[in-house]
Assembly symmetry: D2
Homo-oligomer: 205 residues x 4
């Protein structure tokens, strides 16, 4: 069995995005005997879908984790649902979407097929703050989650797939000259969290 | 030269306070050749002052760090100033103060004598989020900061002294069943931060 | 044409809920020639559905506004989507739901059929802070929104329906003895907002 | 007896500051038989002090209210204390202060001489959210509060003086295209609050 982990390149004026760094760092690693394909995705409504789908088709994964950065968040947010809407921007191509469907006539939403509650429990039992989130937003994070779940749905594949929002890394926040630094967790804890999420997903296949 | 580090016992319904744990853990350690006295203080307006002053007198420190917990904070808050007010509670004795002076006819405020800006820079250069804070509140944290600075002032001692507010530890937050976990940093990072603060203070004696 | 406005009774330790007060206050009023039926709903997963559906069937409305309170919100939140999940509590019957579907085998989500972007613009043009929201939570607010949209969907009715989250009233917050009062708007502004929302919905039938 | 009310011109990229608008609007009004002098001050560390002191000297006030805008605040913040520090910027002259004293060798802080707790109670009894604040920051608001209290102190005048932080107006926030609008109160409520603060101060002379 293979595992696909995606993250994003930096966007929105930031020069660093932990989600893409983790995906690239874990690329090629073996976890519980399963090979990880780690891919950094562009923050582009127009380009990301094709790259995402070809990576899914090529790697034939049993578990797909899409990772992204949630700037104001203090914990590991395990997303419950993706909605059929693009609203936000500009993305890294300069495109700004307003209330557009991701898949015209597609379902309003897909629920994550990851064991989200068990993941939150496993993380918290390891000392990592985590909670279920009920909105992945309407920008690229929600887009990638919806596209992934729609693709495995229309293909009829039985894959554990879902989205995880990560906070800033502590080092990233330490580099910001601001009066009220946003919340963060260290990079090593984010990597540990991703491994726990993969293992919990494998246990619940 | 000696170093005095104080923290607090738990309060306000919490069963854990990282500030007191760090003070106790570092008690007896040698840092840059200097011995640390680490003391856990009671969250009591009535009892804490005498304990604090006897520890200062007994240890004759060159650096005093008073540590406390700031529940909603995401970083290491280096306090700038303590004000001559008690307002808050109940403390662990059940006492609730309303707009009382800490030292009747004492000065309205004392500034920290720590090199607060250099401390923030040293922490941020190490990858630890930090910022100067302009209010230590009006509860026990501000009280201990004011009492310490007043005591060294009236004795005419040249001591680097000040207050540091710590966030929750990540493990502590992971233990809370809440929808929106508050910000946190790992315990090991808080301990590392305290050591950097002591070293930066020693370099600026 | 008729207009149905629902709000909620108090819950969660509060003794006041502006959403229910506004629904009751507007009951029987005529707006742009259309009669308003205003109903205060129970905060009960088990009881609210039947009451809601019978009110919809009896009043045969062209516009349905479900109102609710969002304690940490500073503006009029126009909800975009309801998801097929109950997760939260206890409700006023003491019931606590964990990851249950509202309608087993129902669609994952329904989008609001209100002209949500025009509503936000109309409110902002009148000087009332407002924004689209992408999550109505997973408690009674989301439940009532989903049940309403599901009911009109399975009946094939062409109704403008959706959910509006209101902040606390300023008077309600003024009654709370807290150090950091939560955001609020005056009751009169909330009533004005509801009228603007109804009018904008009528203009877009 | 005269009453001096100051507010500020816009700053920091905003084109509106309710504090200055209220000061100008109330200029010349009679409240409880006392004449109000309302002055809009520049957001300038270098220029504001002289303008402030000449207005105090000329009007010989019994009550001085300095008003300012606190962008993230949801209520009327009655400031307790001003500290002898300038740290922030750039101001409207482009000046950026770093840890400078306002008055070299001046006291570390001055407490407000307004009846701050009674003011908070009076506002809350009228349905206006309010709380005591323990930090006026280190930018122009704190500067004007310190300079005012220092000036009446060195002159030995018995004046009720202090600083009030106002939230954004609702109309101001409605004009911002943001996903999460900041807290606000309507302009009319802010004006009502200022009148209640003046009256409560006059009752406690």
């Amino acid at each position: 069995m293979n595992i696909l982990i995606t993250g994003f390149e930096p966007y929105g004026g930031e020069d660093y995005n932990p989600s893409g760094e983790i995906a690239e760092k874990m690329n090629g690693e073996i976890l519980n005997g399963h090979k990880i394909l780690g891919v950094k995705l562009p923050v582009s409504f127009k380009r990301v879908g094709e790259i995402l789908e070809s990576n899914i088709s090529d790697s034939n994964p049993s578990v797909i984790l899409n990772l992204g950065l949630a700037p104001r968040t203090a914990h590991i947010r395990v997303e419950r649902v993706a909605i059929n809407i693009m609203d936000g921007g500009p993305d890294n191509d300069g495109y700004r979407a307003i209330d557009e469907p991701i898949v015209p006539n597609g379902p309003a939403a897909y629920f994550s097929t990851l064991p989200i509650r068990r993941i939150v429990e496993a993380l918290r039992n390891t000392g990592i703050p985590s909670a279920i989130s009920n909105s992945a937003g309407t920008f690229l994070c929600n887009y990638v989650m919806y596209r992934t779940l729609h693709f495995i749905h229309i293909n009829g594949w039985n894959v554990k797939a879902g989205f995880i929002h990560l906070p800033y890394t502590s080092r990233q926040v330490a580099g910001k000259t601001v009066r009220f630094p946003p919340p963060s967790l260290p990079f090593t804890m984010l990597v540990e969290a991703v491994k726990i999420i993969v293992k919990t997903s494998l246990e619940n296949l």
